[in-house]
Symmetry: C2
Subunit: 298 residues, 2 copies
Amino acid sequence: MHHPAVPAPLMAFAGSPIDRADHIRVDDNALAGLMDWRAKVLVMDGLLPGVDDMGGLVWGSLADVPPDAELVFLGLMDGNACFAPVPTEGAEGPAYAMPRAWQIMQQLAPADLAIYGGARSLVDWHARHRFCARCGAGTKLVKGGWQRHCDNCGADHFPRTDPVTIMLVEHEDRLLLGRQPRFPPKMYSALAGFVEPGETIEEAVAREIHEEAGVRVRDVRYIASQPWPFPSQLMIGCTSVADDPTLNIDTTELEDARWFTRAELEEARAAGEAGTDLLYFPRPFAIAHHLIAWWLDK
Amino acid sequence: MHHPAVPAPLMAFAGSPIDRADHIRVDDNALAGLMDWRAKVLVMDGLLPGVDDMGGLVWGSLADVPPDAELVFLGLMDGNACFAPVPTEGAEGPAYAMPRAWQIMQQLAPADLAIYGGARSLVDWHARHRFCARCGAGTKLVKGGWQRHCDNCGADHFPRTDPVTIMLVEHEDRLLLGRQPRFPPKMYSALAGFVEPGETIEEAVAREIHEEAGVRVRDVRYIASQPWPFPSQLMIGCTSVADDPTLNIDTTELEDARWFTRAELEEARAAGEAGTDLLYFPRPFAIAHHLIAWWLDK
């Protein structure tokens, strides 16, 4: 596997064209020097992006935001400094509970979807972290929004990215997929769960599959990753092998889990958005789609 | 690569024998039922572990901690519920600034080092997150310490794990390693950096190497991972290939970076703790040691 299993441009929210220019974040003078009439500021309605007729993000200027707006420096693009404004409130709840966000995002071209995803994670984090977790005092945005600082106790706080494993389980040319109660009818996807303190990626994969489906796995392998902006996960896609297919489903996590044959998966993929009587294949914006497709095509 | 490149038992802080028993965390009655005379509580002096003559962690009972102590449920081991107490203060600063912690940890057997690492990350997070980042009010430990809840605004907060890429760069049978100013003399290690919101693992690897050393890489591949408890990183070990070895070092991050030949690396590895005139090989507790060893041995 000397080439990525899933090239970045195919993975939704990956492939941002912005140069993060991290040396500017730590240089107050450089940052101030970029905040002139040329600076581009993402036009957002709270956490929702503005989208033009061509599927592009809408950019305004510093004149479009209040002078006291908190701005995150996203980086440089075509020589211009790009910023995103922190909204009054952050998001509550997971992606599936945001139908309007999904509708708008589906209009975005891939590169702009990647810019928006990264920006959304950052400004949402700021909106939900205006106070110091160490002492409770108010904090201020510093380092171009890549840090918050507490003047009261001196603590620094950093935007978070939560690693999540999402994994295929293979047994005799079948794959284990599960469905959560909130999924649309017939939709099954790869099992997933947060990596916890004190474990490797491989340990997290094995633990999650055993917790959710009662299955022991071996030979965990990394396949591909994806940034997921609801609010800020790093999806770490893996595959694994089970010797015993007996299921013991944790019904507090999953409504159902079952083994799908290669033919069933191929048929569901070909059926696209319509799905088959048995299965609705995960959509391409989700890494699960690419993991299952990788397994079918390998 | 159908087997892990570095088996978990060889990777420091991995391979914990504790069953995390996540179904108990969410069940207040089950958790309360485990908090009797059989419960084991890690004996800690702040964030430092007690260690017995055999390299084992020292466990006490609930009678050894104040009735109002905040306790994190680590999981089950040999039928006993295991807990760790949240200290008054968390840690400030990185691992290298904690010589006493390192001295004590080097006495621990691998399985106990893994238990301690996971416990340390969790209790340190609690100690540094007693207030709500959303509204500033005090929060309380819930779900056996796998969550904190704010009664004032209703926000839930979760222990964090920060994904960090650490990577080899290969060019014509040489490896790129760098040194930070705080490293011991002659020590060089793999470049590393936090994965940021809005990027894949592969994108983070390429960005970090370019930022720190000015080198463009291709063919990023995942090799192995390691939990790192200072305070709570997930180290994601990768390898990559550079076509142009020209260096442009970011001296705010690195004191030096250079290409080492296979022979130089082999010699330094064989020299162990003594090092060679040129290079002090990273110690086995660091994933960098295993990544370089993997490259030498593959």
